[in-house]
Symmetry: C2
Subunit: 370 residues, 2 copies
């Protein structure tokens, strides 16, 4: 058995320079964020996600239009929620909280749990009993969240977490937490830093309308600081069965395969309308089929695997492509990692395993089409 | 219905500067890689993964030891395999290949498929019939791989893909492809760039022993170019049921929960021994229980979710921690994203959902421990 050999000489003294690479959102964009020198920075080095040229989608549109995808699924817990959570948890820690709470079964619960445990805070997650598949909670559970299932629906959960945060020393980190959008706006800073200018259009999936509001806030702040010369037109896309901003009134029974944007009455409704107005943008709806087509195009042509809801941005762009001016630059936001939802990949891959092939060169070659 | 408003004025001319941010491994480390000006660079902007300070693990060890995790699960397809694949696929494209093939059910098939479709090459994946759960193939299928299941075992698959690559215009991208390690060595460059120096120890899970060889190659090349003053001791960790390099002979029936390193006869055996010798490193074995403990510690204390196999590096470090010299800097490599294997998270979270709680403030508060 090979054992570890430890050198008899004393170790090299620790002569490391200060760590150089990316240091997380808060350190990178500190002047733009509501933090002070005494704010404890709770970070998993989120952000710094790639802006990937979408070669095939650009080609589909043609006319010199350049499309990029901002792949925010490569954040530490797999979604853009980490951007907001590094801020929300750092501020909770600064305020002396010992626990945080949210009502969520998806990306929010994962991000809240990861950042909370890193900060030494206890994460609580409230869900409706009997409604949620365990797989959706895999991350929160492994991060050590205490998950409480109540005899009620999602609305009950939201009301209860608000009450809990009011009555007990527990910080609410659902999207009503004002620091969430502050963190999320840094995605716009990154887009400008990566492109060297703001894009002409920003295409983004819209559920609660928090992220579109955050991006716009980021672009405006960067513009005021002369970091970019223009502001993008903000193009929000909703699923057709859950499109309150497109139809102009709340949707009582929101229904779409894109669960991350299945929201009938967006919390940031007014903000979203203001963004549309100010940016000369628009809201449009896409069908589930269009979302799934875009999901497959991203995977099969670009090599990018996102959550179905994320693909709404690309589905929307393809839907309105005839209205895209020539020679413009467009960024589509992909909010979550496709690995969050492997079942959708299996269900919608439209690929089959060719089984029962003999273990012989000729048989395999034939199966391959030679 | 709100429609898209298109401005009547002509669009802003496309005045973008060249894209600034991270441009992928090949562009960033071009002088160190076997590419020329005419090599088509196939990239998803892989690499640039965070080096996260492991605060809790550092504290567990104490004595001024600083531990970081290199979180390579944040590569575009969720594992370090993307580093090798950007090289392998770019070189295949350069050589005029129209298809690539590999025998794999895991991270290799995902990475190969994503980069192949991005390059416009057809990806083929060979697997043993009736052996593989569909979930493991979700990524490859969505990326559009043609998956062929043969009446044979994994050895048969490996032999067949070699024969196919010999006889037909198809490039083999399994680990025997020499460009794979060239790409993987860039992880060592990043560690040095991020720390400002090489670490004292590099802890890494060892299966086929390709990655430990690639890291060492990277550290040595950087050292020769005076990018770092020292070289790390390379500490490889295997699962005890699959520990050929520790026991000194191949394991006929490798068995461990850490499937990504369940390899009985590593392809890079000689190379790994040379690395051990040259770096004064060592190979040690960890039990599945130690791996799962480290997996949970990473999630519940650091907020980092990795594949079980990845946690072998941290499990190993904790096991030999008494031999770590004081005031040293240690990097543990986390090769894959925990989202690749949600079932392990559910099975091993050791957390429970507290169900059946009444939808009332007092009941919820009581369930929370108030």
């Amino acid at each position: 058995m090979t054992t570890t050999r430890v050198s008899p000489v004393s170790p090299t003294p620790n002569r490391l320079k200060e760590q150089t690479g990316w240091s997380g959102l808060i350190e990178t964009y500190r002047p733009f964020l509501p933090v002070s020198a005494t704010t404890p920075v709770v970070t998993l080095l989120e952000g710094n996600t790639p802006l990937i040229p979408a070669l095939s989608i650009s080609e589909r549109i043609g006319r010199g239009v350049k499309v990029y995808v901002k792949y925010d699924g490569l954040n530490p817990t797999g979604s853009f929620k980490d951007r907001g959570m590094t801020m929300a948890i750092s501020k909770a820690k600064e305020a002396g909280a010992e626990a945080v709470i949210c009502a969520s079964t998806g990306n929010t619960s994962a991000a809240a749990s990861a950042y909370a445990v890193r900060a030494g805070l206890k994460p609580f997650v409230l869900i409706p009993d009997g409604y949620v598949a365990l797989g959706k909670l895999a991350q929160a559970l492994l991060y050590g969240a205490e998950v409480i299932a109540i005899d009620g629906n999602f609305d009950d959960c939201f009301n209860l977490v608000k009450d809990i945060a009011q009555e007990y020393p527990v910080t609410l980190v659902n999207s009503v937490n004002p620091y969430r959008l502050e963190g999320q706006k840094t995605a716009a800073f990154e887009v400008v830093d990566q492109l060297g200018e703001a894009p002409d259009w920003l295409c983004i999936p819209v559920g609660n309308a928090g992220n579109i509001s955050a991006y716009w806030m980021g672009f405006c702040q960067y513009h005021q600081q002369n970091k970019c010369e223009k502001l993008p037109r903000m193009m929000g896309f909703q699923a057709i069965g859950s499109a309150p901003l497109v139809q102009g009134y709340p949707e009582k029974s929101p229904d779409t395969i894109a669960t991350a944007i299945r929201i009938g009455n967006p919390a940031n409704w007014k903000r979203a309308l203001a963004v549309q107005e100010a940016s000369q943008g628009g809201f449009n709806a896409v069908t589930d089929e269009e979302i799934l087509d875009a999901y497959r195009i991203l995977a099969r042509e670009e090599g990018v695997f996102c959550e179905p809801a994320s693909a709404a941005s690309v589905a929307g762009l393809l839907k309105v492509q005839d209205t895209v001016p020539s020679n413009t630059t467009i960024v589509c936001v992909l909010t979550g990692n496709g690995l969050k939802d492997p079942q959708s990949a299996i269900d919608h891959a439209q690929a089959q395993v060719k089984a029962g092939v003999a273990s012989e060169l000729d048989a395999v070659a034939q199966a391959m089409g030679f």
